[in-house]
């Protein structure tokens, strides 16, 4: 057989049939269900009196709308409560396993899928959420879908799809101290653009990958969608297997050995051809910070706000002007002179234990700057409990941060955690869109260590200026 990529192998293993027009029916192994994209899908199912084909292929959790405070209390009367109750009722009716908001395995779908071992190499996994690309870190084909496609998966366990083109991002070099995996993905998007990978399944490869932990690989794959790609993947290896072994839903015993033997066959064959190749020397990267209203509007922290007048393309120039107006920034201002009001550490991009550790390392023994408010929202209850066992909550609290319960929180501002109009936030989330963290709110994306550094100084800051170049906060 011809040499194939990781994506092509997993695709071929899930091909139910190929239609005359060349499109395919792809089998879907796993579906994560959340409260925002599912009510209309369930309603559609019920309207046609259709049943779930395989209830055991779905796990549900409410993560977007739930509060991150006072979780022991019932949700207050209102839209969020209605949405969460609807999910619970739908799961009950259709016999889907549901994780309640007070369960100690609660969390953001993309954090708990891997924690449970629900996410596996070589699987196909979908969710009505664009950051489903996160799960590709395990060598799964994982992608976000709309509610209509969720309905299709409920009813048929399959989706009609076309195979995507493939793109390899080869990472070379070694990160310098103070530079994190978030800086890799922000740096990549700044280079190729927010639609730079549209139509492609991205595989992150090259010598830089082997050294990355699963948490780091998830951060990388998570933001593939910010480059326009629905799918981001990393080939499974010993790091993957070590992470998964013993997880509640991972195979065990003889099944585990068989699975691992199979997973070892998945990495891209030598000689396989990608439709597109990009190389990134991660050793050349500085910590990154976004200055505009999409993740591609990002630059190294030691720079300054760019000048739209220097942009030749009129559409791009207009977009830059609009971004700067929205962000309340003038061309030429040094990033390090930009004062912030809020700090958000969390989300499915950077709400994992390693993220909290790296932020805590910067914050330890320091204080949040006067007038700045900071919250830390663990991506899952498991992350929260682990952090508490390590004493990280005490470090954050002592510095003046609020320590919250798991959920999406200020990444999407669907609960009470949101910016006020005009407020500026150093955020570890993934989207700096207009209004994303609250109407009129201004978001600067960065790594957890960089957000922690901004909290301490009250302005955008190069974390290396705080902790020195010894790598303490990398």
């Amino acid at each position: 057989m011809a040499a194939r990529t990781l994506y092509e192998k997993v695709w071929d293993e899930h091909l139910v049939k190929t239609y005359d027009d060349g499109s395919s029916l792809l089998y879907i192994d796993r579906h994560l269900v959340q409260e925002v994209s599912s009510p209309q899908a369930f309603a559609g199912l019920d309207a046609e009196d259709r049943k779930l084909r395989r209830p055991a292929a779905h796990v549900a959790v409410a993560d977007h709308a739930v509060p991150t405070r006072m979780r022991h209390l019932p949700l207050p009367e209102g839209l969020a409560r209605a949405q969460v109750s609807r999910l619970e009722a739908n799961c009950e009716k259709h016999r889907i396993n549901y994780i309640g908001m007070r369960d100690d395995r609660h969390g953001i779908v993309h954090v708990i899928g891997p924690e449970l071992g629900f996410t596996l190499p070589g699987a196909t996994l979908v969710c009505g959420d664009s950051h489903t690309s996160t799960h590709g870190a395990f060598g799964a084909i994982a992608f976000g879908i709309g509610a209509s496609e969720c309905e299709c998966v409920f009813a048929t366990q399959a989706l009609r799809q076309r195979r995507q083109k493939t793109m390899r991002v080869a990472l070379s070099g070694t990160l310098r101290p103070g530079v994190a995996v978030k800086d890799i993905i922000l740096g990549l998007i700044a280079r190729i653009g927010t639609n730079g990978a549209v139509g492609h399944a991205v595989e992150y490869a090259g010598p830089g990958i082997a050294t990355l932990s699963m948490e780091a690989r998830m951060t990388l794959c998570n933001m593939s969608i910010e480059a326009g790609a629905r799918v981001g993947m990393v080939a499974p290896d010993d790091v993957t297997f070590a992470y998964l072994k013993g997880r509640p839903l991972a195979p065990a015993g003889a099944d585990w050995d068989r699975a691992v033997a199979h997973w070892k066959t998945l990495p891209t064959d030598g000689g396989a051809v990608f439709d597109r190749e990009v190389e990134l020397d991660i050793g050349a990267l500085s910590p990154q910070v976004s200055w505009g209203t999409n993740p591609g509007e990002t630059a190294a922290i030691d720079g300054q706000v760019p000048d739209p007048a220097l942009e030749a393309d009129p559409v791009k120039r207009a977009k830059m002007e609009r971004s700067l107006r929205y962000m309340g920034l003038a061309p030429g201002v040094a990033f390090k002179d930009i004062a912030i009001d809020r700090v958000f550490i969390g989300s499915c991009t950077n709400g994992r234990i390693e993220d909290l550790r790296s932020a805590a390392a910067v914050v330890a023994g320091r204080q949040i700057a006067a007038g700045v408010e900071g919250i830390v929202v663990p991506g899952s209850a498991t992350v929260r409990l682990t952090a508490e066992a390590e004493g990280l909550d005490r470090i954050f609290r002592a510095a003046g941060f609020e320590w919250r319960e798991s959920g999406c929180s200020m990444c999407v501002a669907m609960n009470d955690d949101r910016l006020s109009p005009g407020q500026r936030c150093a955020s570890t989330s993934n989207r700096n869109f207009e209004g994303r963290q609250g109407q009129g709110g201004r978001t600067h994306l960065m790594s957890p260590a960089m957000a922690a550094a901004a909290a301490v100084t009250g302005r955008l800051t190069d974390v290396r200026d705080i902790v020195g170049n010894n790598g303490a906060a990398a």
Binding site: K17, L25, Y27, D29, V36, S37, Q40, E48, R53, R54, A56, A57, V59, A65, H72, L79, A82, Q83, N97, I99, G100, D104, L116, G122, D129, S130, G144, G146, S148, E149, C152, A155, T156, Q157, A158, R160, R162, T194, N195, V198, G228, P248, L249, A250, P251, D255, W256, A259, H262, N294, V315, A318, K319, V412, M414, R431, F433, E434, Q439, G440
Partner: protein, 218 residues
């Protein structure tokens, strides 16, 4: 799903790149549970000032009242998977969006809701944008795969043949998979159970993991 065959309408111009789904449908309205009636939240922050007064955003202008077509710029609908963005467009009366490129999930979602996204780039796109701005009527013919501009010129566009047929017929995709492909799916599952048993969780592992009791609840 509603059928799409041919529409003639003024087209609202939106000459701005990277209109993401958060702009099309702000997140705070995602708490609503229905598909219907979302049009009033479409482009909310662009259509209304904080004090509730209306801006001069294209869809607020009398010239584009009742527009069924939107002419947008590159990367329209990038960002989240929220199908609410398409439901809101459809509820508002938009049946067709023309842009040089689209966010992928948004593009897929359009076809599930009788909305036709058309890729037009380069000088052609400039022409269509200018025609939209002029306030004249465009005709989109899906059967013929053509766009006709107000002053006469007509040109073709490309679309995946399956998706075209689905729109023309108002096809129920789930229904046709259930009717035509269920045996293939069952055969696939039987084979997977032998070849990769760890991928199926029907052995009750999930139920044992999530007993509906208090064990894991604080």
């Amino acid at each position: 799903m509603e059928k799409f065959t041919r529409i003639t309408s003024v087209a609202a111009p939106l000459p701005e790149a990277d209109i993401d789904t958060d702009i099309i449908f702000p997140a705070r309205f995602l708490l609503l549970l229905d598909k219907a009636g979302l049009g009033k939240h479409l482009f909310f922050e662009r259509r209304y000032r904080p004090d509730g007064t209306r801006t001069d955003f294209a869809l607020n202008q009398p010239a584009f009242e009742g527009a069924k077509i939107l002419v947008a710029d590159a990367n329209f609908g990038s960002g989240s998977s929220r199908e609410q963005a398409v439901w809101a467009l459809a509820d508002f009366g938009i049946k067709c969006v023309i842009a040089p490129s689209f966010g992928e999930i948004f593009y897929n979602n359009c076809f599930k809701n009788g909305v036709l996204p058309i890729v037009v780039s380069g000088a052609r796109h400039d022409e269509v944008m200018a025609a939209a701005r002029s306030g004249g009527e465009l005709t989109i013919d899906l059967e013929a795969e053509t766009i006709r501009l107000p002053n006469g010129p007509e040109f073709g566009f490309e679309i995946d043949p399956y998706r075209r047929r689905a729109l023309l017929l108002g096809l129920d995709e789930i229904g046709s998979i259930l009717a035509d492909d269920a045996d293939d799916i069952a055969r696939f599952e039987a084979r997977q159970r032998v070849e990769s048993p760890w991928l199926q969780l029907d052995d009750g592992r999930l139920d044992r993991l999530f007993p509906q009791d208090e064990e894991h609840t604080r």
